[in-house]
Symmetry: C2
Subunit: 468 residues, 2 copies
């Protein structure tokens, strides 16, 4: 392979180095804002984060900046269309974060960013505040040094990604003209490994469902009443257990109906990667691999659908014991979808399963659903992928891996369906950074690498995409 | 039936009426103390309740009062042996209470006793502070009016009933001489219905077990990792579901081994009571009766063993969703035992079941066990039962029901095994008073009835039991 060439202008790269400390400080200010989108008590913080981003865009250069209200949390956009004839990219990211629970498991407070061993520990440091903030600082460097960007850029930073982006589709369809571009570059997503660059070309879809079983109208004494009426915890266990067979396959009728066999090329690609179960299990600390029989661990995580309980609870959870026969049991679940699986269709199938398998003596209440998202895959040989791979190759000096991904970036499918745009992934987070868990962190050297890479990508995209 | 005659001395009854308000105020002071034995942060409150009781005994009369330290919470005793030649009774009760969770479901704060519609609402008002406090006030009335009690009385009031009385057996065996009596009268237990007096002649035993399933070493992102490793919530559901068959029968091998068929007389007695499923279900607000096939609801609650989950939890329980693959799932369970079922033997059987049915991909940890209790039944035709029935008949003017009970009073079996004493139940709580649940209450008119009845019982016992 010939020596990779960095296309980023030297002046921009030098400017980024000069502004490293100030840009990092600006990122930390954002990370300190507890913009937890799922928790309505944090709504003012979410709003504060949006306002802070708008301020940073205005400071970065001559962007047209807007903070759009939605039904829940604001969307921030920043447009610069000063490169007529050049292509246009939409840069996507999100400024909201997951809840920090269980807070007591954090080694440092989740919203006090703390540097330890070259890592920045904080909720949202990896998902998605650092990766999303990088291109804003890179645009600022272009404006400072060259007075312009190499192509037209529209930033779209939302505040509802961690709750399934309910407002994004209405927003995207309403603001079609403002947002239409030749390509979406997602700063959300994350690389597979810390020790090798990668970009992903597929994500799984998602579906959420929450339900409650009820027995008696109130909690009862388990001695006096036990044996007389149904215990919702037993019923819940029976109902949840019915969702999978003993081999880990989802037992909901029709669940696999729209799932296509994994293409042989994908299987071969997954098998060629340096992955083995033993190393993976050591990394996550699990005693054994487990899941749908007949597929490797990577195949199950990237290319097969799942149904996972995310929360399950009822009765007494405190110290000691409490002899209670609880009145309620609750469950939250999510599915990851692949290929042509439709979230609404699958939701209906799961609801039917819950009703049909409902144990006697309890009632079932299913929470109203949100829309969900289908899976996404970038078409083979896409020019945006060539640009991303080229920039990663130039910065890291090795051939990047092109991988699948088990998580969901529901907006990919939304951009494709509603605006006809494909999405490439260009995030400098890594999948092992404990996102959605205590002690989430971001590797600080990737702030440096990410800024070089984004500077390169903005210069490389016009070459690969051609003119808009 | 001939008109029942109250054996309580008229002077004592009059004195109780005169002191009603002051005695009730003294009870409220006790109820205000949050003596939650299961929660170690309340240990000082438990101790404060013990000290307050000791003070009340000293104020009541010439009792020899002791507060004994144990491994956890103190035992309070008060002895009066001024009736040589008369029998001796041990009066049992407890001053500890269940945790008040969920506190947000209470209509008034759990430790601010509040009177509404003739009911006293507070945690512990029914279980067991009011019923236990009544005989103390009755003893005071005897001492004030007659200077003596009609028989020898030893009070034993413990502070660990709600956590399974772990210190009581060591205490009872060590203080054998102080405690040995002709009969135990338990102020704990409660009547079956509010509209008809009853006493119970059997209680179920108890066994507690808590366990945890673990998958990965930490919470993971359910999108990235879902499908690759086991989800402890799924494994927990499968394991818990395996504990019962579809008909509600416990599926643990050997669980019913030492259970005897219900005697025909007990079944007939249960069937003769004014109980029907429809009325019961309306009372507790449950959609249907459910439980072991082949037995009526009362039979299942009084005479059949159960295995009930009291708590089940893992993962995210907050508002909205969190796409987490949790690292742990937890369960707390209790069994109610009958006849010759041995708690240690059953615990071993359940532990074996959990190990043998453990789903793949998770590890099982069972918390170390406490001793548990076997079931108890008063021998037929017991003289103590005649006395209790006589006093209830005299106060209420109807024939009391003699019933079974689904709950556990583990000390009955302990008194029988270690000191050879039988126990009768003489409580003025009622089973519908939401004990162990939000809005626990005690009917205030039963404070009056209970005091008359205890005054009568102390006078009647020497006649029925004869001399010690």
């Amino acid at each position: 392979m010939s020596a990779p060439q960095l296309l980023a202008p030297a002046a921009v790269v030098a400017d980024l180095e000069a502004h490293h400390d100030g840009d990092l400080a600006a990122l930390l200010e954002l990370v300190r804002i507890p913009s937890v989108s799922a928790d309505s008590s944090h709504a003012p913080d979410v709003r504060r984060a949006a306002a802070y981003l708008a301020e940073r865009f205005r400071a970065a250069g001559p962007f047209e900046v807007e903070v759009f209200e939605t039904a829940r949390h604001p969307v921030v956009t920043a447009e610069w269309r000063g490169a007529p004839g050049a292509p246009t990219v939409l840069v996507y990211g999100h400024y909201d974060v997951q809840p920090p629970d269980p807070v007591e498991r954090w080694d440092s407070p989740p919203f006090e960013p703390t540097e330890r061993d070259g890592r920045l520990y904080a909720r949202g440091a990896s998902d998605d505040k650092s990766p999303m903030f990088i291109p804003i600082t890179v645009a600022a460097a272009y404006f400072r040094t060259l007075g312009r960007l190499p192509l037209n850029v529209v930033f779209l930073i939302e505040g509802e990604e961690e709750i399934g982006s309910p407002s994004l589709v209405p927003f995207v369809t309403r603001e079609r003209e403002r947002l239409t571009a030749d390509l979406v570059v997602s700063a959300d997503g994350g690389m597979w490994r810390a020790d090798h660059p990668s970009t992903m070309v597929s994500t799984r879809g998602m579906l959420k469902l929450e339900f409650t079983l009820r027995g008696a109208a109130k909690d009862l004494h388990s001695g006096r009443h036990g044996g007389g009426i149904a215990n919702p915890l037993h019923a819940m266990a029976e109902l949840v257990a019915s969702l999978h067979d003993a081999d880990g396959r989802v037992a909901v009728a029709g669940f696999y109906e729209d799932v296509q066999p994994i293409p042989e090329a994908w299987r071969a690609s997954a098998h060629s990667l340096p992955f083995d179960d033993a190393g993976y299990l050591a990394e996550v600390g699990a005693p054994a691999a487990f899941g749908e029989a007949g597929f490797s661990t990577l195949e199950r995580q990237w290319y097969r659908p799942t149904l996972e309980l995310n929360g399950l609870w009822g009765g007494y959870q405190g110290e000691g014991s409490k002899t209670v026969l609880p009145s309620e049991a609750h469950a939250k679940l999510t599915c990851r979808l692949v290929a042509d699986q439709d979230p609404a269709d699958l939701r209906a199938k799961i609801e039917r399963h819950l009703h049909e398998h409902l144990p006697p003596g309890v009632t079932l209440e299913i929470e109203p659903g949100t829309e969900g998202a289908t899976a996404y895959r970038l078409p083979d040989g896409h020019p945006g992928l060539r640009a991303v791979v080229g920039s990663l190759r130039a910065v890291y000096g090795v051939e990047p891996w092109v991988i699948g991904m088990g998580g969901s970036v529901p907006i990919c499918e939304a951009f494709q369906r509603h605006l006809g745009m494909d999405t490439v992934f260009f995030s400098f987070a890594v999948g092992d950074e404990d996102i959605h868990a205590p002690n989430e962190f971001f590797r600080l050297h990737r702030f440096v690498e990410g800024r070089r890479a984004w500077a390169d990508l903005l210069a490389r995209l016009p070459e690969e995409i051609g003119h808009g």
